[in-house]
């Protein structure tokens, strides 16, 4: 009978190891791919949803908006929810047939938030005690002021920075604003053409800063680090990002800050032509438009019902209008 404890030991060891292999086999993993400027709000959304759904593990994986879509369309990953900072990307890139011929990647999306471009700065920024909503473009144009933008090739906030400074020229009736703040300090030369009321900024293939006045970084988080370290005095950022990081900021007029559907016609008067077509699945031209966040559940999402439930919850949370989040869309 001495064998009995050994058999029990065997059974116990096997069950423990088997449990270790299975891990949290009962847990459903919901894969959400959001734009970078949604990462902070989605931490909170994730926590709230998981608290209400024991057994669901929401996994957030941030990318630039186009890369979010490409995870589904070009890299063929199984993603439950895509959330981008430019609603036009979803119809442009996902309203097309999937490779297996089973319909489009998606046929609908939900717009849920907006944002606005601001000029962010800190107490230590040069001329921090002088800058106002009226003189911001003069302060940023000063030779000893260092301005940061994210790379327009990589980040929507980057090409939107170019749009804001271009739209400012008409608004303030000063045709030097774009060139004095950004254009003259980039190399190779940025081409600006005006035709039929539309200004087109054409970027070179490899965009670099000329001298020390402008600093270009891959994403806005690196501009935040530079602001903290004093590497730049001012950076073009989304309002929600500036607030979430406790930065000071200058609000810009709605005619130029890309926040308002009422001014959509005006925003369309600026076009940025990126230096090269980084992705085969979308062209290199970006037309000014209101910043609108949108989400969709891809047709091949592993957990479509749960994903829709998450999206509904997320949209509801954004609708509450938290201070440090992108603003809810007006009805």
């Amino acid at each position: 009978m001495r064998v009995t404890p050994l058999i029990l030991l065997f059974v116990a060891v096997f069950m423990v190891l088997a449990a270790g292999c299975a891990g949290d086999g009962e847990q459903v993993v919901l894969k959400v791919v959001p734009a970078g400027s949604l990462l902070i709000p989605l931490e909170s959304v994730e926590a709230g949803f998981e608290a209400a759904h024991p057994g669901v593990d929401v996994q957030i994986e941030g990318h630039g908006s186009i890369q979010c879509v490409r995870q589904v369309t070009d890299l063929h990953r199984e993603i439950d929810l895509v959330a981008v900072a430019d609603e036009s990307l979803i119809p442009d890139m996902m309203y097309r047939p999937m490779e297996d011929g089973q319909g489009n990647y998606t046929d609908s999306y939900t717009s849920f938030a907006t944002n606005r471009m601001v000029v962010a700065y800190t107490d230590a920024s040069r001329y921090a005690d002088e800058i106002t909503a009226e003189n911001w473009y003069e302060v940023l144009a000063r030779p000893d002021t260092v301005v940061g933008i994210s790379n327009p090739m990589l980040d929507a906030a980057g090409y939107r920075s170019l749009m804001v400074t271009t739209l400012a020229e008409d608004y303030y009736q000063d045709e030097t604003i774009f060139s004095s703040i950004l254009g003259d300090h980039l190399r190779p030369n940025v081409t600006v053409t005006r035709e039929g009321g539309v200004t087109t900024i054409t970027l070179p293939e490899v965009l670099k800063q000329e001298g020390g006045k402008v600093r270009i970084r891959d994403g806005s988080i690196y501009l935040l680090s530079l602001l903290d370290a004093g590497g730049v005095d001012y950076a073009f950022e989304y309002l929600s990002v500036a607030r979430a990081h406790g930065l000071r900021y200058v609000s810009l007029p709605p005619e130029i800050d890309l926040s308002s559907a009422d001014h959509a016609d005006n925003y369309r008067r600026v076009v940025v032509d990126l230096g090269f077509q980084r992705f085969a699945s979308i062209g290199s031209e970006r037309v000014g438009s209101p910043i609108v966040y949108a989400a969709t559940v891809p047709a091949n999402a592993p957990h479509p019902e749960l994903a829709r439930e998450f999206m509904d919850y997320m949209v509801g949370e954004f609708g509450k209008g938290y201070e440090e989040w992108p603003d809810p869309l007006r009805a």
Binding site: V3, G62, G64, N151, L154, L226, Q277
Partner: protein, 187 residues
């Protein structure tokens, strides 16, 4: 005694089976895949197989990248071929030239002559604080940490902006995955 031995054997078998199940395929060596790389300058074109690329003079160093939203990947020890070595077969790179890197997933990236020489990049320490750039090399990598680069990490061929010493992070947007074409563009 026989029963005790039997139980002991069963225990060993159970542990082995369970342990095998846990490790999955991770311990298996990556198989050599079939992959061709086209190197072109618009007029001359060369197609290199993976073994032909590996036969070229190798560069060995370190790679550590970061995405636009701050996701780090690596650090890796890296083995590959300098991009400057690869483009020598189509006449090399001169002042003002650019090098376009393509992949079958539709991704495209461009390096200018300055970057091909290892400068013009932003670098970070491990806390993502900017630091002065050490010597950098643009490499077409085929090994991470001594083994073939897995497909999910961009293998078999992936661009790396590498360093001679560990501890430097470079911007990952240039780390093109699944590279299948390199084209020199003359001004």
């Amino acid at each position: 005694m026989k029963a005790a031995c039997l139980a002991g054997v069963l225990l060993v078998v159970a542990v082995s089976v369970a342990a095998c199940g846990c490790t999955g395929d991770a311990g298996q060596a990556a198989e050599e895949v079939s992959w061709n790389l086209t190197v072109s300058d618009g007029t001359t074109e060369k197609v290199l197989s993976l073994p032909e690329i590996k036969a070229l003079p190798a560069w060995e160093g370190y790679g550590y990248g970061v995405s636009t939203v701050g996701i780090k990947y690596g650090p890796y020890t890296v083995k590959g071929v300098r991009l400057t070595t690869l483009v020598e077969s189509v006449g090399g790179i001169g002042e003002g030239d650019q090098v376009g890197i393509s992949a079958p997933d539709g991704y495209y990236w461009v390096f200018d002559d300055e970057q091909m020489g290892g400068s013009g990049f932003v670098t970070f320490d491990q806390n993502l604080k900017e630091k002065p750039a050490p010597p950098l090399t643009v490499v077409l990598a085929y090994e991470f940490n001594g083994t073939a680069i897995p497909e999910e990490d961009g293998g078999p061929l992936r661009i790396v902006v590498g360093t001679d010493e560990p501890g430097t992070i470079t911007e990952g947007s240039a780390w093109v995955k699944w590279v299948d074409r390199i084209e020199v563009k003359r001004p």
